[in-house]
């Protein structure tokens, strides 16, 4: 996952803040120092970090802590909001020209991954029922044209090439004509990669831009780029007035701070991210999701808000202590279930918990689980207090009675007892995950 490194850092930082009753200026500054280091280690540009930290510090100190949140949560909220602000408020799509073809020009440094990205984009559009044309306008790098041709072949998309003896400007021009004649509605031009300080290249790119008037000029940036990302982005943006950014190689363990830097310095949206070596590995960039990911919080803020409304804090605290001491009984289980029901569907809730891999949730049938919960409630309500507190005393005659009382079968009662055991295991798993993540005791965020 792209930003996991940064995520961990920030989580560690905020763990220190959690549990403190009041948020002082000193707390904020201390936390912000950690945020600053984490962001720098993630290669976010120094100046961007400075601005970010300043704006968050200002907001955090100046503001009153919301009643429903702990001070720590409040700072997280502000950091999160500022991160979203920094990366763009919402996702940004490709501008499709009303009059085809839509022309997309890819620019960037050598090795950023332009040629591969051109093919990935083409495949993306093809899957959206478009008819892209790839244009090989990098006549300098040995075999760049051939690379594009091979990739085009793999995804069955035509590649327009005139060899490496024709000027890229003429190639680009001719490709538009070709697209019009052959009903290709998207033209993706792969340009030569060179350093942003290379005057010849910039002039060439400017000429191509003038000649083909692209709908999109996308700067392809390696997510692993360091402090220099701002210089690169600034140069390309000044000369070409780019319309957006594509971040590549985000599937490494790179923390991808370049994303923040580039966005901050150019103000241009990040439109796609490349996340793998396969040509189908392309994702639309969602700033809000990315910000949540950076914080490693899942959609924790929504969860916090919901929980604060629904859960009796005192009861929650008791529950947490019981969980930790493993004194959790069926009675508590029932109570927990009733509180949970106030929050919404189980699936939605679990999705919001940090550290949960949402993709694995698809294996679980949540509706089935919720029907099951109704049964469970009935069964537990048919037990005596003694039985609820100490399920081990439930023998077969007790089981028979409980089944009758709740209108279920003995199998159902057995199932519940197993379920309860499973729930205890699940709690243990949660705490294991949490221990693994940050070597601390697991605490439900809404139990604070």
């Amino acid at each position: 996952m792209a930003f996991e490194g940064l995520t961990q850092k920030l989580q560690e930082t905020f763990r220190k803040l959690r549990g403190k009753g009041k948020l002082t200026e000193k707390d904020v500054k201390e936390a912000m120092r950690e945020v600053k280091l984490a962001l720098l280690e993630a290669d976010v540009n120094y100046k961007v970090v400075k601005d970010f930290v300043n704006s968050v510090t200002e907001r955090a100190i100046g503001q009153e802590v919301m009643e429903s949140l702990t001070p720590g949560q409040h700072v997280i909220k502000i950091v999160h909001e500022e991160l979203v602000n920094l990366m763009g408020a919402k996702e940004s799509k490709i501008n499709i020209s009303p009059k085809p073809p839509t022309v997309i020009m890819l620019v960037g440094l050598q090795g950023a991954g332009k040629t591969t990205m051109a093919a990935k984009l083409a495949l993306h559009f093809k899957r959206n029922n478009k008819h892209p044309l790839l244009v090989a306008a990098d006549v300098y790098r040995p075999a760049a044209i051939k690379q594009l041709q091979i990739l085009g072949g793999q995804i069955d998309i035509p590649v327009f090439a005139l060899g490496d003896k024709i000027s890229p400007i003429d190639i680009a021009k001719a490709s538009i004509e070709y697209a019009k004649k052959n009903a290709r509605d998207i033209v993706i031009i792969d340009t030569a990669g060179r350093l942003h300080v290379d005057e010849d290249l910039m002039l060439e790119l400017e000429s191509i831009k003038k000649e083909v008037e692209p709908n999109e000029i996308l700067l392809v940036v390696d997510a692993m780029t360091g402090q220099d990302a701002v210089n690169v982005a600034e140069s390309f943006n000044q000369r070409l007035d780019i319309t957006g950014v594509i971040l590549t190689k985000l599937d490494g363990d790179t923390r991808g701070g370049a994303a923040l830097s580039v966005k901050a310095i150019t103000g241009k949206p990040i439109k796609f991210v490349g996340i793998g070596e396969k040509l189908s590995d392309l994702e639309i960039f969602y700033p809000d999701r990315m910000a949540s990911r950076i914080l490693g919080m899942g959609d924790i803020l929504t969860l916090i808000e919901k929980a604060q409304q629904a859960i009796d804090e005192k009861k929650a605290l008791e529950m947490q202590q019981k969980l930790e001491k493993q004194e959790f009984t069926l009675e508590d289980f029932l109570e927990q279930m009733q509180q949970m029901k106030k929050l919404g569907s189980l699936k939605d809730l679990i999705r919001m918990i940090p550290g949960i891999d949402v993709s694995k949730l698809n294996d679980i049938d949540f509706e089935e689980n919720e029907r099951e919960m109704v049964k469970i409630e009935a069964i537990i309500k048919s037990m005596t207090k003694e039985e609820r507190r100490n399920p081990s005393i439930i023998n077969s005659s007790r089981k028979k009675r409980i089944a009758k009382g709740s209108g279920t079968s003995i199998q159902d009662v057995n199932k519940l007892l197993n379920n309860f055991e499973q729930a205890r295991k699940m709690i243990k798993q949660f705490s294991d995950i949490q221990k693994h993540m940050k070597k601390g005791k697991f605490k439900f965020p809404f139990f604070k």
Partner: protein
């Protein structure tokens, strides 16, 4: 034009590079105070030296300034140079020239750092020194990588061993070593697929190539060179660490140093992993891969840009 001039020239291309920054600090600061250190810290981080190494350098500088009773920014500047120089040079073999012949260089790195190009230039460098060079097209993964290396082999005028795209890279290397033996080649340079270092199976593939080299080229002088892009940030450290897991890494080829990036990460890599920089790429020309000279590197960093 020597690389020192090129480097200076390229450094001059940007307005706020480290050189200027540090120079400005040293020129306008009359005393060594907290602000002085803070600005220094900023300048180092801005050149990708990294938080950890920057803190190490600053702490060392503080200590030395105190111990040696340094009182002027000028002297502090000399001290800073020495500290960085010490990190770059200490206990390191900076020479690319093989200890004995025949030699085999395995060149590794993540996608897009300029491996194939660096190999072409490296072949040219060795050929000019009078060595008989052979290239092995071990990147059978990326589309047209073999063609790209072949173009380089023609430019330089050296032979190349290749198979078709998608073939087993270890088999290519095996062939290349046999060819190197029978053709009495001095230096064999092996290209490998650019891989994201967190891709397990690709790293396994590298391990396999390594075994082939160990076994078939047991009488060869062997070095693994890691190609790093100067624009890469702190991730370069992770890259180096991951490659260290599957192979020794004896040296770094630092590419794209002719842009505005300072490549400060190599100071961090020298500091934390003790891997020396051996060659640097300062331009697009065939002769723009040059020996790394730490004195000049540090000198160029602190040279005033007019």
């Amino acid at each position: 034009m020597g690389w020192f001039e090129k480097l200076k020239e390229s450094l001059a291309k940007t307005r706020d590079n480290l050189t200027q920054k540090v120079e400005a600090i040293f020129s306008f600061t009359t005393q060594i105070d907290e602000e002085f250190y803070e600005e220094l810290e900023e300048a180092l981080i801005m050149s990708d030296v990294g938080v950890k190494t920057t803190q190490h350098i600053i702490e060392t500088l503080r200590k030395n300034i105190k111990d040696k009773k340094i009182s002027t920014p000028d002297k502090a500047k000399e001290e800073l140079k020495n500290i960085i120089l010490d990190i770059m040079k200490k206990d390191k073999n900076l020479s690319i020239i093989p200890g004995f012949l025949p030699a085999v260089f395995m060149v590794v790195g993540v996608n897009g750092v300029g491996k194939t190009t660096s190999i072409g230039k490296l072949a040219y460098y060795f050929k000019n020194k009078g060595y008989k060079v052979l290239l092995a097209a071990g990147d059978t993964f990326r589309a047209a990588a073999i063609d790209q290396l072949e173009v380089w082999s023609q430019r330089v005028g050296v032979e190349i061993i290749k198979q078709s795209e998608g073939s087993d890279p270890a088999a290519v290397i095996f062939d290349a070593i046999q060819a190197a033996k029978s053709r009495k080649v001095d230096i064999l340079i092996c290209d490998t697929a650019g891989r994201l270092h967190n891709k397990r199976n690709l790293m396994e593939e590298l391990r396999k190539i390594n075994r082939v080299i160990e076994k078939e080229g047991s009488n060869f002088y062997k070095e693994t060179l890691l190609v790093l892009d100067a624009t890469t940030g702190q991730n370069a450290l992770f890259q180096a660490k991951e490659f260290l897991e599957v192979s020794d890494v004896n040296g770094i080829v630092l590419t794209k140093l002719d842009g505005t990036a300072k490549g400060g990460i190599v100071i961090g890599i020298s500091n934390e992993l003790n891997i020396p920089v051996k060659m640097i790429g300062v331009g697009e020309g065939i002769d723009d891969l040059q020996e790394f000279d730490p004195e000049m590197f540090v000198e160029a960093l602190f040279e005033t840009v007019k």
